[in-house]
Symmetry: C2
């Protein structure tokens, strides 16, 4: 039974707040184990990587075999069906086209005082992309992480993907190829993150690490943060659907279940102005759920976190959406553009009945790496900007320094930083001498 | 004696690597103490804030007195001299003008398949700015944090500033006023960060926390990260100056000392192609240092971390600069623009002899909150973007779904996510029925 709330009930706010603050993730404390693995990789390098891979992935490697050879990659890719290849190629092209538009522009201007100011964007030199192994080894995630990096102009892109018992998903290697990544290592877990951050004899260190992973990978990313940049630490996925009465309940039920099948900790929420639709959707979920291969996972998610909310009107729905700050927001209403303007905290918005969230996971173009757990209040999905950094630039003419320098001297004095003031004053004095002589 | 290196020496690379990896910060482990303070504020709210402020700042407050009243603010501001006020006003205006140009644009376009795609930027709703008390209570930092937030459109801006023994820096309150911040609390330390992140009866929680602070503040920001967004955790400041022979050694010495006077852990580095200049600068530092009020701090920094490097040419200097990835980079050479193009990892670049780094701390316009400790390899200074987040938007027509949906179904199948595929397939089937009928 999903959580069912009605904004007209007296105890709605208590129930809504309780739903919002539900803890959906068991964060086992793996920090000590992860710290030991990182220390081991730093101390013993490739040797540690091989031993840890033998232990965790049941795969015996020598340092020379850590990296996939071009022949190995091609042999795996050859196993991909033409249909899968075509679908992945279309996804890659659409993701590339979307992200190409995100490239920010440099700027430079000269102000009336004579100061030339601006900024310049440059890519990180090297980025490492973590790809989980086994069941959650998603080729779509390879595209979503690697293509923005490529668009940003990152020179060296590295993938680490564990291959338990030596098994790799050929589509992951094809996705890497489509994104132009050739440096791929068959390692995973905290040891892969340690290798990317600190480097070994075989694997040169990178500057930024992105990509999803289990609790060990997430803890390792947190621990190496500062030494390298990392993307967000993603929590369980979530969708919020806002729907009016006349919509197809089966479609909405499927969209809720698509979210729920990711993970027993995922959350699917429907807010509707129509109790009849809520009832119909709940019925459709119950009918469809047993037919799904991942019925157990989706069922647990729906049972524990699934939520149906009856709202008075769409304005109220938008206000609740802003309190939820969902990762994915579907607006299945007559005028989704108007409603979208009122929904200001969301990772991604999907407008109208023909934009199911699942197309966004694969082929619509925007990134599917999005802020979870209410963090859309203050953060954004993965983008080209995550692989760029901005350098600010200033050049003063002597005249500009004469115009604004005295204020700097004054403020340096007020802050008790005499050398700051003196560094400006010394220049101003020479300028004064010159203009006086 | 500063570290002195010459790229022509056989052991240069070892020395340079050793200099790069010097640990400049004693990070005392305050995590346990900070966690207890955060728990206390979450459990007891305002009462905990008052008790902790009495203990750490020797200031007895009631919950009603946590916030500065408008009269208290005006009374403090009235003490500011006209000269200081004019200087701070100029700084605020120039910082605002620079950051106004950073506002990114929304985008929306329709592709040939009929998918309307784009993104929209929105501000965080509420941001909290931490301002250190006592000696490091810098009005310039208030401007550098608050003005980008204002430019971004953040509706609610809050400042927390500890006032040990009840003393506040009037310039900090004036800077807050110039930036349009009226909600100011006289609390500091981990307790202030806890209040901003979790809220109390008196202080509503915020979505993002920025601003510098001591080890307790930094640890608290790390611990509340995820619940709220935070800016970078800044390390000790650093400057790299690249200079050719004909430059004024006194100016360079003053710029090195301006960095050194911040903190005994700060680092000042000169790379020059001219050994004579290096010698003259070292002499000027020795001559000027004893005249500084902060000679002890600047002297310790210069002694422990100051570095002089003789390079063969400017290309080599640029390569070394990219390995250092300095927070501040001064290019005191004949053609600084050309050299700047080769320096791709730096927080801020100052071009030419009349752009001392100190003008950038106060009045040139770009932000002075910049990536330290080599993190300019992968991160940027504070900007308007830190107070915005991006929501991606997609709307498919039925025709667009018919064109790209089958690829999503295919990939969902390959990833074993059947409900994902079914959510698209159900729509495609209805479209097919319609077009068939």
């Amino acid at each position: 039974m999903p959580i069912t709330l009605n904004t007209s009930d007296a105890d709605f706010d208590a129930g809504f707040t309780r739903m919002l603050s539900m803890k959906r993730e068991d964060s086992a404390d793996v920090n000590t184990a992860v710290a030991a693995i990182i220390d081991d990789v730093r101390a013993r390098g490739d040797q540690a990587l091989c031993e840890l891979t033998a232990r965790f992935d049941r795969l015996e490697l020598t340092p020379e075999a850590l990296r996939f050879t071009p022949d190995e990659i091609e042999a795996e890719i050859a196993r991909v069906s033409d249909e899968d290849r075509a679908a992945l190629t279309m996804a890659a092209e659409r993701i590339r086209a979307y992200h190409a538009r995100q490239m920010p522009e440099d700027a430079s201007w000269t102000d009336p005082e004579g100061a030339t100011l601006g900024w310049r964007w440059t890519p990180v030199s090297a980025a490492g992309l973590y790809v989980p192994g086994g069941l959650a080894s998603y080729p779509s995630s390879v595209l979503m992480n690697a293509i923005p990096a490529r668009v940003a102009g990152v020179e060296r892109l590295v993938i680490c993907v564990p291959t338990p018992d030596g098994v790799v998903n050929p589509l992951v290697l094809l996705a890497a190829k489509l994104a132009g990544v050739e440096e791929i290592y068959r390692i995973g877990g905290a040891q892969a993150i340690a290798a990317l951050a600190h480097g070994t004899r075989t694997i040169a260190p990178v500057d930024k690490i992105t990509g999803p992973g289990n609790a060990y990978v997430a803890a390792a990313k947190r621990q190496v943060f500062g030494k390298v940049g990392i993307d967000m630490i993603a929590g369980p996925s979530e969708v919020l659907i806002i729907a009016e009465g006349a919509q197809n309940p089966d479609w909405i039920a499927l969209d809720l279940l698509a979210q729920a099948e990711h993970d027993a900790d995922a959350q699917s929420i429907l807010i509707t102005t129509d109790p009849t639709l809520a009832h119909a959707v709940a019925g459709a979920v119950d009918r469809i759920l047993p037919t799904l291969p991942r019925a157990e996972i989706a069922g647990a998610s729906w049972r524990d976190y699934g939520t149906l909310i009856i709202a008075r009107d769409l304005d109220e729905a938008a206000r609740l959406s802003n309190r939820i700050a969902p990762e994915h927001l579907e607006l299945v209403v007559d005028d989704p553009e108007a409603l979208a303007l009122k929904c200001v905290h969301a990772g991604a918005i999907f407008l109208g009945a023909h934009t199911p969230e699942a197309v966004g996971d694969y082929v619509s173009g925007p990134n599917h790496v999005l802020p979870t757990a209410r963090s859309a209040r203050f953060s954004s999905g993965l983008s080209v900007l995550d692989f760029l950094k901005r350098t600010t630039i200033a050049r003063l003419t002597p005249g500009a320094l004469a115009a604004i320098g005295p204020a700097a001297v004054r403020l340096a004095g007020a802050e008790g930083l005499q050398a700051h003031g003196a560094s400006v004053q010394a220049r101003l004095e020479l300028l004064n001498e010159r203009s006086g002589g």
